[in-house]
């Protein structure tokens, strides 16, 4: 009797210590990721703030002319900001509704084998590196846009937006689909039992019940769109114009990427400031949409 009690005690002790070891390991990993975020933030602030103070906050943020290598240089990044905003919004305008409809079809309507095949394709699309999307854009989309709209050059904001929309689609589809699949069957049965058709049920019950996952998919999509550099660099023409739908433009990301290799002095510092602005945008998007999702969730 005594023996089993001590045995159990020692077993408990052992379990406890194993548990503690795991807790510590997870804590260390958790700390690592937080430390990285803090480190990157500090790095960006330290390297990005000087140029902004030298140029002047308003001149930098709202200046419409970027001429970093001119004899009398000018560092206004409004063209980049607006291009990034327009490009991202334009892409989302297409890919959010299309993506959600695809997800609804895959999760709720497509017959099993079809859904499996499409899902496979979507996952593959998500894994394709952005330079490949860029190539596809250069070879297919840019010439088509040029011909379709009768333009001298097809590398412009419109083409870039199309490429972004395609790139964002997979993450919206697969994330929304997962959320839709997780909707309890009881909700749908409840709706059907009240006389709703299956389509009504999907759009009035399943989709609202999955909204937090769907919004997350939009966050991911927005993040991918605004942070994308390689593909848009290849199809947007890369000229620092104020944006217009058929104008060659430069995004926040491509502004940094295209000049970094040969930059120096204030120009180099200004590129860091652009990165800081970009970083700020991404944090904002996360905060805003996080708020939306937590509000939408019903406990």
């Amino acid at each position: 009797m005594d023996g089993t009690v001590t045995l159990q005690k020692s077993r408990l002790k052992k379990q406890k210590s194993v548990e503690n070891i795991f807790k510590t390991i997870f804590l260390i990993f958790g700390m690592f990721s937080i430390a990285f975020v803090i480190f990157i933030s500090i790095f960006l602030i330290i390297s990005g703030v000087p140029a902004i103070t030298k140029i002047g906050f308003f001149k930098f943020m709202f200046g419409t002319k970027w001429a970093s290598t001119a004899a009398k240089p000018s560092f206004g990044i409004l063209p980049f900001i607006l291009t990034s905003v327009y490009g991202t919004c334009g892409a989302l305008l297409v890919s959010v509704p299309v993506g959600i409809f695809c997800a609804v079809y895959l999760a709720k309507m497509a017959p099993g084998p079809v859904a499996a095949a499409v899902r496979e394709a979507v996952d593959l699309l998500a894994a394709i590196p952005s330079v490949v999307y860029g190539l596809f854009g250069m070879i297919i989309i840019v010439p088509s846009v040029r011909k379709l709209f009768n333009l001298p050059d097809g590398a412009n904001l419109f083409s870039a937006t199309v490429v972004l929309a395609i790139m964002v689609l997979p993450s919206i589809i697969s994330e929304s689909e997962t959320a839709l699949r997780a909707v309890p069957k009881e909700y749908e049965e409840g709706s059907l039992a009240l006389g709703a058709t299956y389509t009504e049920t999907v759009f009035k019950v399943s989709l609202p019940a999955a909204r937090s996952g769907v919004l997350t998919s939009v966050i991911l999509g927005t993040g991918r769109a605004i942070g994308e550099a390689m593909a848009v660099m290849m199809v947007a023409g890369n000229v620092a114009n104020m944006p217009g739908i058929f104008k060659s433009v430069r995004f926040l990301t491509t502004a940094v990427a295209s000049e970094m290799s040969y930059s120096s002095g204030l120009q180099r510092q200004a590129l860091f400031s652009i990165a800081l602005v970009l970083f700020f945008f991404i944090i904002m998007i996360n905060v805003v949409l996080r708020k939306l999702t937590s509000k939408g969730e019903v406990k």
């Binding site: 309890p184 009881e186 909700y187 049965e189 409840g190 709706s191 059907l192 039992a193 009240l194 006389g195 709703a196 058709t197 009504e200 009035k204 019950v205 609202p208 019940a209 019903v298 406990k299």
Partner: protein, 260 residues
Amino acid sequence: MIFTEKRQGDFMSSVIETKDLNLWYGKHHALMDINMAVPKNQITALIGPSGCGKSTFLRTLNRMNDQIEGVRIEGEISLRGENIKNLDANVLRSRVGMVFQKANPFPMSIYDNIAYGPRILGVHKKKELDEIVETSLKQAAIWDECKDRLKTSALGMSGGQQQRLCIARALAVKPEVLLLDESTSALDPVSTSKIEDLLLELKKKYTIIMVTHNMQQAARIADRTAFFLLGELIEYDNTEKIFSHPADKRTEDYITGRFG
């Protein structure tokens, strides 16, 4: 005794009738030759051991089994003399409402839960909806508990309240028949007795068919009781008769707790 039964049979019109109803899940024969007439404005209880086909039978009445792959149904079910095969499934379901075992309010406000069915049926005027919401919640005896929080999430209610909300939601589309599948099995005695009182009140306007594992519950509130065993309808009669003088040995064994 015989006289009263005959008389009852004469003037109690049946709302739902099944004729030689058979159902297969793939190869599994789950319902066998069920012939049953469910009288109007009465509570009919379905009892029987687990897996005997009670839920299957209930779900056949509002064609919820249509959703399931591999189901084959033979025989006829009529709602007020009309074959339900000839009705649109969604029309049928708005006439034959259903409350499930597990309360399943939608993740929306209490108001939107109740208004869901009427909205589907095309009611959109706020005044009309307000009225439907209020009467339905009152009918389900839950109005007083939630009238001040109609705009809050239904998921914040207790289990018993959620189940009464689901009953109210089903009543909001003004069905003729109400199907309940073990709708009180997950509830505490107080909530259960509230719902039982509620059903006794509701049978004045609706025809109720309920599955229950609780013999006392069937004896307390059901007018008619049907005993199922392995997909067969063994006995179907007035509740007192079933519980005092069952005609079939198996019924007796079951209600006295000798098996099941």
